[in-house]
Amino acid sequence: MNSTIRLTYRIIRSALDVNTISFLILLPVGYLLIMGLMMGSIIHSFNYGGSNLSYVSFIAPGIVADQILMGGSMAGWVLWSDKRTGMLEQIFSMPFSRFQYQLSNLIAMILVTFGGALIMILVAIPFISINITAYGFLLVFIYLVLGTLTFGSIMLALGATVRSNQVFNVISNIMFFVVTFTSSVFYPITSQTPRPLAMAAMLNPLTYVVDGIRGAFLNTSGVADIYYIAVLVTTSAIFMAIASYTYKRIKLSATV
């Protein structure tokens, strides 16, 4: 068996426990039901891209994107936990490259996030107007992979650099909050959006993830996807490079 696959297997089996995985997979469904019911009771439907859309249909792709962010933080958390239990140093002394460890961590998160998105889509079908094609499904998968690579790498770089657990948690929570609210997860970015917010959304990789997935859900994908994907390939590459750089310099035996 290939080294990266063995490492991925290990992360799913041991660094993440069954409860965490179930939570991650079931979270989007719960999120959708609560958000859909709660927000749907005040915002019934609105005009999006020329047609009338219920809020719950609007938010569903956003939840997948949030799930990607969550998966990203988990990647950082796994690194933290491996540092704390000494497994990181041990694995680094085994026949794996550091890049393989990083990659396997991201792959594990892609699998978990994909599982969550799949279940959410299946559960949501009766409630939302979703019009996803096989091609759209492929697009969702591509956005999910690129989103996880981007945000997972950011969190891995953070996990490799920061030396205290609290600092890691605080930064990752603030980031979660800022990244979510400056993207198009909860509201569409239109000409009426305040300029600073629109600017922030444009610089925020999550916006491209959400818009791309939303297009796939509503079957409105088109040439814009090429642009979105190009942006996300670039951010993935940059942040993965940064993460592997921090890995090379990681302080060993950081016992907490």
Binding site: M1, S14, T85, G86, M87, Q90, S93, M94, P95
Partner: protein
Amino acid sequence: MNSIEVSDLKVSYDGKKYVVDGLSFDVEEGEIFGFLGPNGAGKTTTIRVLTTLIKPTQGIVNVLGMDVTKRGLEIRKRIGVILQQPSYEWNLSVEKNMYIYATLWNIPRSQVKKRIDELIEKFDLAEIRKVSAADISIGQRRRLQLVRELIHDSELLFLDEPTIGLDPIARKNLLTYFKSLAKDGTTIFFTTHNLEEADFLCDRVGIINHGRLYAIDSIDNLKATYEGDRTIEVLVNKAPERLAEKLKSRLVGAVVDGTFNKESPIKIVTNKVPDAMEIINEYIKEEGDSLLWLNIKKTELEDVFFKVVGEQQNE
């Protein structure tokens, strides 16, 4: 052939101070080499370089004939590493910890169960086999960490204070096992603070302090060098510095520790105990002082360090 070749190795973590400062030594294939030294001497740092966890700041290091800076992955395929830092999969049982480890090492499925069952039996882990690693004692975790490393074969085994926290039976059991591995051709690089252990296991030892090797020899030769030496600890009331001075100037070949004060005794390593006693008596009479504490003991590892390092400083 040499399994390990280290030439003028220097390591600095902060770019200023060398914590390993010019080490050179070889370890032969099939040899059990003991690395002894006080806390902070640089043992773990050396092991990190040899296991390719960190890069040498300076010097040439070859492990199994390969340069550690260039062929890390190939080296890591052929070595086993038990780090000083404990490690375990906290939410898996002892047995599952071992299975996951076997997967990481890509041990063929057909062999895994037999191998793990044997090890569990041999190292007395049956009782905690199904218990989560989070719920076992610290010594039991150490045992798991050690036994886990025996699932895969290695040509060269690094053991960084492997027996810390083990009970005497487990300790003996493991040391005996390591010895049998060496007999079958495995090279072992081993650090410890315990001279008895080194004595039992090692063919040769190196004594390191402040990142430098102060002695490197077979156990028998080292012992012969310090045979007949005794460590005297003496605490007096009035003028310990004067007593220390007297001892230093009149006891030929002795090493007198300069770190004493009113609370901690003067320490002398010498093979001339009667002469030393005479000097102490003389001092007491001259000063009208009283003896607060006197202890004469067989020289232990600590004293060997102290003597080795002390001699180095006197030169």
